[in-house]
Symmetry: C2
Subunit: 160 residues, 2 copies
């Protein structure tokens, strides 16, 4: 007879328990991220939605309002409002789309981007502190997990 595992949060024994622990940890991580985003936005006197837009633009580079609508889940009209707000505050710039004259390319204003990133500094230093406790190979594993999970998750892909 197996001895009972009394510590639920410690290393799970069975693979099933391991998967459950991981799922729970992921969900908690996501819940925490949402709160964290709010906090950062608050510091910058921005709405969480605005912050989300800046993040998307920072991660994916300049993109059209339509793409932002799909990546954020906002309506087309909502995107316009957010962009107006961000543009007025000097965070982003709208420029003509080189290939489609109906369209627009939105990009982050570089100087402001630095100011935004500064607010992530404390998180990033903690992030790097966490990283120190992992070997190169372990980080590769974690990275692979995130990439796989990202691909399995809500893909923003448009069929042609």
């Amino acid at each position: 007879m197996r001895p009972p595992n009394l510590s639920s949060e410690k290393t799970p024994a069975t693979r099933e328990a391991l998967a459950a622990s991981l799922l729970r940890a992921v969900r908690l991580f996501i819940a925490g991220s949402s709160l964290f985003g709010q906090r950062v936005a608050e510091k910058l006197a921005l709405h969480p939605t605005d912050m989300q837009f800046l993040n998307l633009l920072d991660l994916l580079g300049p993109m059209t309002p339509g793409a932002l609508a799909q990546c954020s889940g906002l309506s087309s009209g909502g995107v316009t409002v957010v962009l107006d707000r961000l543009e007025k505050a000097g965070y982003v710039r709208r420029s003509a789309h080189p290939e489609d004259r109906r369209s627009v390319l939105v990009s982050i204003v570089a100087s402001r981007q630095k100011r935004v990133n500064a607010n992530y500094e404390s998180a990033q230093s903690q992030f790097h502190w966490v990283l120190k406790t992992f070997s190169d190979q372990e980080l590769q594993t974690v990275l692979r997990f995130f990439l796989a999970a990202g691909n399995a998750g809500p893909q923003i892909q448009q069929r042609r």
Copy 2:
């Protein structure tokens, strides 16, 4: 116009590049999660905020409106409105707090919880599909990362 794909591709060589890739993957993962939450909420005809509440209650168990306010970032009045909505729709139940008669304990109605979880099924099956590509030890590593990152980030704590 094609919306960008929220996933990155290459395998980094140096540790610094590895850290950068991981940071980027984490941020993309978070961005995708936010979208995913919206989609699920939409399916259930709930607001994203309501979904967030159900998640918190599912993860952390019954808690007071005040604790929900802290975990979600909403104001006290906002929590009341959300809870009214969820209670009216039959998702949660308010009951007297056993230790403080001013307070209230909010808990998920079990039968509804199942219905909510059903909407995560497709995600969970994909999740388990991803898990299959990792060994037990690798999953332990990933779990350790999430726990560490969760502790480093904004704390979501269950309060009494």
